[in-house]
Symmetry: D2
Subunit: 109 residues, 4 copies
Amino acid sequence: MSPTQTNSEAKNDAGEHGYSPEKDAYLKRMKRIEGQARGITKMIEDDKYCIDILTQISALSGALQSVAIELLDEHINHCVLNAAKSGNDDEAAVKIKEATDAINRLVRS
Amino acid sequence: MSPTQTNSEAKNDAGEHGYSPEKDAYLKRMKRIEGQARGITKMIEDDKYCIDILTQISALSGALQSVAIELLDEHINHCVLNAAKSGNDDEAAVKIKEATDAINRLVRS
Amino acid sequence: MSPTQTNSEAKNDAGEHGYSPEKDAYLKRMKRIEGQARGITKMIEDDKYCIDILTQISALSGALQSVAIELLDEHINHCVLNAAKSGNDDEAAVKIKEATDAINRLVRS
Amino acid sequence: MSPTQTNSEAKNDAGEHGYSPEKDAYLKRMKRIEGQARGITKMIEDDKYCIDILTQISALSGALQSVAIELLDEHINHCVLNAAKSGNDDEAAVKIKEATDAINRLVRS
């Protein structure tokens, strides 16, 4: 691990996360979200009615929020719990702080 | 216009909307949003850390909300105002109702 | 009107706004919202379970958002439309800008 | 404990929660939030400009969200961690599910 590597990059080395068992399902949902984004671009290209575009943006936003909330759930169920169970209170505290900051960004985005 | 055609489909015929003068700028922003979505998919494929994925989801959500709020602004500035100025109060009322419903969906998505 | 008076203070002089005809209904809803806030304070005083408190906070948030969205709707239906109909395009533009900024704050609050 | 008592009512018996050490600070913040709600009611009574009322509603919403996010943080730091450390995996799972549901309601309220 190089000295410039960030904390979260270090974690990527492991390549095993809370969401890993559901990775295929997440990839499928993200592919659908990519399709929704392309659909919105196409609506603008085709001069569709602005309110109809807004409806699709809300649908895409909702789909993204669902993915985010499930990722958070996996983060707490795995990263936080594993740290807690291994008696590593400092690491558990760091991971909970990361979760809370992520919730804060989500609620306000 | 066939009797089964919806109100908003009828409007698409015109092909001229509040956002039309800025169409290229919107398309550029949507292309960037599509890229952000693909980036998130890639992060999951590459087993990136869940909190880093959540940060990107919030960024994408924020970018989408900005597009939505500007589209709403154009809708009010054009569709609503034009109806009001032409003395078509019923159409203005319909268009304001559409805007309010869209805001409601945005706030809750 | 004194030179230091802000635009919105000036408008308060009129004492007549889009929401005025529904003023009693809004006051009733705000009284209920005040009661919800006091209820949450009481839950904390009584050491209620944090998740139950969060449920009540979401309910209060939702009630507030509904009031906000209806106020916005009245703003567009009255302040914006009246400016547009009277041919005062600059004032209409200012009022739409105010509405868009308010939507932006709402979506991100 | 009576058979009709809910899970969360049962927890209230303990009277000791994650937020307990900060109870006074939370009560102070809730009192300020109650004051903000009364201020908004007064603005409507006094026929203040709708956009100014919306600004205050966003401020109140933001204050509520901050309280909610800190309560969630305490919930994870205490209720979830304690269950995890005591090896009570089922209870930890229940408490994480409660947290995720609360986040979901918050994000969409």
